[in-house]
């Protein structure tokens, strides 16, 4: 049994590492681990179960992410996992890793501010331009190219940019 438990731990670690490499199809610089979409990996009777949570209720990337996880684990020689979608606790941008925020900025998307949430939504948002760093920026549209982004423009360098909304 001790051996069984140890191998479960090892299997879980390998499964997590494989699943954590899956990227968001819309924002390919971010992995689902960076995003906080990957919630849990568990082993039940030798079967791997991967839990993911959607960023937004209607996020169309979820189906593709689930397929990518299955492929990643099969490629890693771990067999086909069960991918489960969990709704609770509700996803928040606060789960995004610091590394994820840096990658977003380098990619040209302004990252969400930590601890933003509802306060930021109804207060004054200060968003720094991912190109020049200026905070003299303005909203063009509350809704952008995907559910999780808004469209902004920098008044200093005049570049439009995506802003990953606080959620």
């Amino acid at each position: 049994m001790v051996n069984g438990a140890a191998s479960d731990t090892e299997l879980r670690r390998r499964a997590w590492d494989a699943a954590a490499q899956v990227v968001d199809p819309e924002i390919p610089v971010l992995t689902i681990a960076d995003l906080g979409v990957l919630r849990d990996v568990s082993i039940r009777d030798g079967e791997i179960e991967v839990a993911i949570t959607p960023t937004y209720s209607g996020c169309p990337a979820m189906n593709m992410i689930a397929v990518e996880i299955e492929l990643a684990l099969e490629r890693a020689g771990l067999g086909r996992p069960v991918v489960r979608t969990v709704l609770s606790p509700a996803w928040t941008t606060d789960w995004m890793s610091d590394d994820g925020r840096r990658k977003l900025r380098d990619y040209g998307i302004a990252p969400p501010r930590p601890g933003g949430g509802r306060r930021a939504l109804f207060g004054v948002e200060e968003v720094a331009c991912p190109q020049c760093g200026s905070t003299d920026t303005a909203t063009l549209s509350e809704f952008g190219s995907t559910s999780c982004k808004a469209l902004w423009r920098c008044n200093s360098c005049r570049e439009p940019f995506d802003y990953f909304k606080c959620h």
Binding site: S57, C59, S88, A90, R118, L121, F122, S141, G144, K165
Partner: protein, 258 residues
């Protein structure tokens, strides 16, 4: 039309989830009708995004209704294979898009209710409904802000936009009362802590509406006579046309997938 309609065993909890799912699906479908037609590109994307959020909420609610019902129905069957009289949505959300002012007014009235509704429902004793509420309340906060800003822009805009917004308010006002109605089936769920009494949200809804309309220099109608029937399947003629488009693929090619 070759696929027959399904029967649904509407226990109180199934019916409760179905009603909210139908609200979200029908309103989301209405918004999707703007895709490619909105006044500007940013708004086209905004309406499609909001429609997508609503579609996501509908899917979760339909899936839950099907699970609670425990027969062989699923989210797709509930959406595609119920006839117009089996739909349980509010009359408000099925009203036609009309001009942009009418679409925004419908969205504003609904969002001003949905936002506090979902926030309060996060305390539901039903774990699944509470989880769906926790996701939906974040989304509806954005929807409300978006619609509120448009009400102000239209009402406090040009003479033309003001007149159109005011007409839309007059036309849609009588459909807002249905959001606060409760029947015996829901009363039991409220008593059990599964649902909340929408009457407790009326004050906040009126306050939001008064605040935004005031800023928009628009008037709240004096008439308080309210229309109802959607929750028991008595719909305006518009829903049948909407469903014929929404359901045509699955009715003509049962089980079609891609």
């Amino acid at each position: 039309m070759t696929a027959a309609s399904i029967q649904v065993s509407e226990t109180p909890l199934v019916l409760y989830a179905l009603r909210r799912a139908d609200d979200a699906l029908v309103l989301g479908h209405r918004l999707s009708e703007w895709c490619g037609h909105a006044p500007m590109l940013e708004e086209d994307m905004a309406l499609a995004n909001i429609a997508l959020d609503l579609l996501g909420q509908a899917r979760e609610l339909y899936s839950y209704a099907a699970k609670v019902e425990g027969r062989d129905n699923d989210e797709d069957k509930l959406a595609y294979l119920r006839d117009v009289r089996q739909y349980r949505n509010l009359l408000l959300v099925e009203q036609q898009n009309g001009d942009f002012a009418r679409t925004m007014t419908r969205q504003f009235f609904y969002s001003a209710f949905a936002d506090p509704y979902w926030r309060t429902m996060t305390a539901s004793r039903d774990a699944t409904l509470a989880a769906i509420a926790a996701k939906s309340e974040k989304e509806s906060a954005y929807h409300l802000r978006h619609a509120s800003e448009w009400m102000v822009r239209l009402g406090d805009g040009t003479e033309e936009s003001h007149a159109r917004a005011q007409t839309a308010i007059e036309d849609l006002w009588s459909f807002t009362g249905e959001m606060f109605t409760v029947d015996d089936s829901e009363r039991a769920l409220i008593d059990a802590g599964v649902a909340i009494d929408p009457e407790t949200l009326r004050g906040q809804w009126l306050k939001t509406v008064a605040g935004v309309l005031g800023e928009a220099t628009l008037a709240r109608p004096a008439n308080d006579w309210m229309q109802k029937g959607g929750r028991i399947g008595h719909h305006s003629e518009h829903l049948g046309h909407l469903l014929s488009e929404l359901q045509s693929m699955q009715r003509s090619f049962p089980g079609a997938s891609w």
